[in-house]
């Protein structure tokens, strides 16, 4: 059984990073326009600074190599970023997917491990592949991804949905417990799981006794990408024991902010919402709607 190691209270609003890296679920043209705009690192920091000005101090981010630059900035200027925390989400899936296409699964894993500098990691890696010890393989991959976050605060560490859902379908439940144990013992952080299949994942986490887990999933009025159906999500939010982080609350732009947060506000179980925005105006807009629509319902 793995029990919570920290009592970390998550902020209501978490800032996501899709917009910075050319990820847009609606349009490839918009994605490219954003990638061009955020090619300039100062544009990225400008948006993060705007978020901070609105009191949003949690950056839920992939382990994209450009995130390392953001980490460097925050680490170098602690006075400018008081209380700023990162929630790393790993692994950065496309890096692995492209490597697997080119090299095959085993070789891809081997190539993505750091080969120098972290000698102990590499040695443990050699043993992992020889003894088929999955636990050390998982922990090694996590350590490789976490290297860029040295010296900043990472109270929650997420496993990305492509990996979570792949393991979930395979019935590889034990990997979730391995991840939880490692994240807690080595980083003193809470494990988080991103999934498109919330009800099924909660069952799997129950089976391996990961208690009261942080789970991030699409939660929106339209039931967009909520596998298992919106009713099963409602039931989970009403009855299951877990810490819910909602994403895609605007259903990829199909819902307006008020409507989106009216729906979120029905579920006290939802502790946080992760959202992305490219401008100070949009960030302020979301902050305002949260203040007007969601927070008042929480204090009732």
């Amino acid at each position: 059984m793995t029990t919570p190691a920290t009592d970390h209270v998550m902020d209501r609003l978490l800032f996501g990073d899709n917009q910075f890296f050319g990820v847009n679920h609606m349009s490839e043209e918009k994605a490219r326009a954003q990638a061009m705009r955020f090619q300039d690192f100062e544009s990225v920091m400008g948006v993060l600074d705007s978020a901070q000005a609105e009191g949003i101090r949690t950056f839920m981010c992939t382990t994209h190599e450009r995130v390392a630059q953001i980490v460097d900035r925050v680490r170098a200027r602690p006075d400018d970023y008081p209380g700023f925390v990162f929630y790393p989400c790993m692994p950065y899936a496309h890096k692995y997917a492209n490597a697997v296409t080119e090299h095959g699964p085993l070789e891809a894993v081997r190539r993505l491990l750091p080969d120098e500098g972290l000698v102990s990691t590499a040695l443990r890696g050699g043993r992992a592949l020889a003894t088929k010890d999955v636990e050390s393989l998982v922990t090694m991959l996590v350590d490789a991804e976490m290297a860029m976050f040295q010296g900043v605060t990472t109270p929650v560490i997420f496993l990305q949905n492509v990996v979570v859902d792949l393991l979930l379908g395979l019935g590889f439940d034990e990997a979730f417990a391995i991840f939880a144990r490692h994240v807690r013992t080595r980083y003193g952080a809470e494990p988080g799981y991103i999934t498109m299949n919330l009800p099924r994942l909660l069952d799997a986490l129950d089976r391996v006794e990961v208690l009261n887990p942080i789970v991030c999933s699409n939660m929106n009025k339209l039931g967009f990408r909520m596998c298992g159906g919106i009713e099963a999500y409602r039931e989970a939010l009403d009855e299951r024991e877990f810490r819910a982080v909602a994403m895609s609350v605007y259903a990829s732009g199909a819902l307006g902010p008020e409507e989106a947060f009216e729906w979120i506000a029905q579920f006290p179980k939802i502790e946080s919402v992760v959202f992305g925005a490219s401008s100070a105006t949009n960030i302020r807009g979301t902050r305002q709607v949260v203040d007007d629509v969601w927070l008042p319902r929480l204090s009732v």
Binding site: N98, L106, L170, G223, R225, G228, A254
Partner: protein, 401 residues
């Protein structure tokens, strides 16, 4: 419950294994691969039955169907063995490395009355399916030209030693990437009469191509241009886009959206207006029971499971992504390879190479081919303009009535 074995646990095999593992009407009876390590780990942690030898597995494990996700070169013997035993087959794309072998499998599956599906998942993407529907409605009139593109960041430097880096194994940009836009062209425009100007170029690879360019000619006079490059880092992941130009409008479609421009020369279909329309995949896609990487991967497997279980709805199209249409795509791939080997095609045998200098005989053949191509185009134009005149006359008569 449908008893399925997944054969090959690489990228697509693992994905299929996971999605089928979550399917309520499927039992994973076995997974089969020659890589002991991956199988051992999966067997230890998931309890699924692992098999190292395909033939022995077919002998020993009671099955209803197999999913084949091995390197393409192994498809033909494996699919044949499964069909001969009366098993339904879902095979990854492309079906085989020879259209003759693909045709043989089409016939065998038909003879045995078995479900035989290929993993061209784009046909299960909402936006691509909507485009097929619009073409059926005649929304953009007669298609005169298509552009089919796919770009992505697979091979970015000179290295790589898996089957995907060997054309002889079914690796390379043509089989791995270009097969997708080509299959969409098969779906939208049918079988091309011939192809020309094919260039299979090497950028970083040594034993296969990294870029594919070609022109496809159809018997109704329409044409398509293919442009594919898997060494393009400016794309975050594979991106496939088709543009269709027609007499009454234009469609540009990718995985995410369907951009449609309709001229006011005929009524627009329900839900569309003259001028610009944008439909997003998010609104065109039906929910799935389990999601991994995209609804289309779940949808294609669910369709296979329901086809094999005799549970397709009466209003659903039968035999989607059949061996039959995949064999057409295999035939087109073959035409491209043959065309690229023609003298003067611009296909080199080493990075940076261009075509060898044509011999005098080659030059004569080329001149003759060029003359006959011009003649065909002229004939095509004459026929097309004649048809257009007839069509105009008909529509004028209708309007008068």
């Amino acid at each position: 419950m449908l008893r399925i074995a997944v054969v090959g646990v690489g990228k697509m095999g693992l994905s299929h294994l996971s999605i089928l593992g979550a399917h309520p009407d499927v039992t994973i009876a076995a997974m089969c691969d020659t890589s002991g390590y991956v199988l051992d780990v999966l067997e230890k942690y998931t309890g699924m039955h692992a098999a190292g030898d395909y033939q022995k597995m077919l002998d020993a494990v009671p099955l209803d169907a197999v999913v084949i996700a091995t390197p393409t070169k192994a498809h033909y013997p494996m699919v044949r063995a499964a069909l001969e035993r009366g098993l339904h087959v879902f095979c990854e794309k492309p079906l085989t490395l020879s259209s003759e072998e693909s045709r043989a499998l089409v016939e065998l599956a038909a003879e045995k009355g078995l479900v035989a599906q290929v993993g061209y998942h784009n046909r299960f993407v909402g936006a691509f399916a909507e485009t097929r529907r619009l073409l059926d409605l005649g929304a953009i009139g007669r298609v005169t030209h298509a552009t089919a593109e796919a770009y992505g960041p697979v091979v970015l430097k000179a290295k790589g030693a898996t089957w995907r880096s060997q054309r002889s194994e079914g690796g390379g940009c043509l089989y791995d990437y270009a097969a997708h836009p080509l299959d969409l062209l098969t779906w939208y425009l049918g079988t091309p009469e011939r192809v020309g100007g094919t260039h299979l170029g090497k950028i970083f690879s040594t034993a296969t191509e990294d870029e594919v360019y070609s022109t496809l000619f159809y018997d109704d006079g329409s044409t398509a241009q293919l442009s594919v490059n898997w060494s393009d880092e400016s794309y975050r992941k594979m991106s496939t886009r088709i543009t269709l130009s027609g007499t009454h409008g234009r469609i540009t479609v990718d995985r995410q959206e369907c951009q449609v421009y309709l001229r006011d020369t005929q009524p627009a279909p329900a839900g569309y207006q003259h001028g610009w329309n944008v439909k997003y995949t998010t609104e065109l896609t039906a929910p799935v029971w389990f999601y991994l990487r995209g609804e289309e991967y779940s949808a294609e497997l669910d369709y296979f499971v329901r086809s094999a279980s005799g549970a397709l709805g009466s209003d659903e199209p039968a035999a989607q992504n059949s061996f039959e249409t995949a064999a057409v795509t295999d035939r087109v791939i073959e035409l491209l390879i043959r065309d690229a080997e023609q003298p003067g095609s611009g296909t080199g045998d080493a990075p940076g190479h261009t075509a060898r200098r044509p011999s005098p005989a080659d030059a004569r053949r080329q001149r003759l081919a060029a003359v006959s191509a011009r003649a065909r185009v002229l004939l095509g134009d004459t026929v097309a303009s004649g048809r257009a005149r007839i069509a105009r006359a008909r529509s004028t008569r209708k309007a008068v009535r």
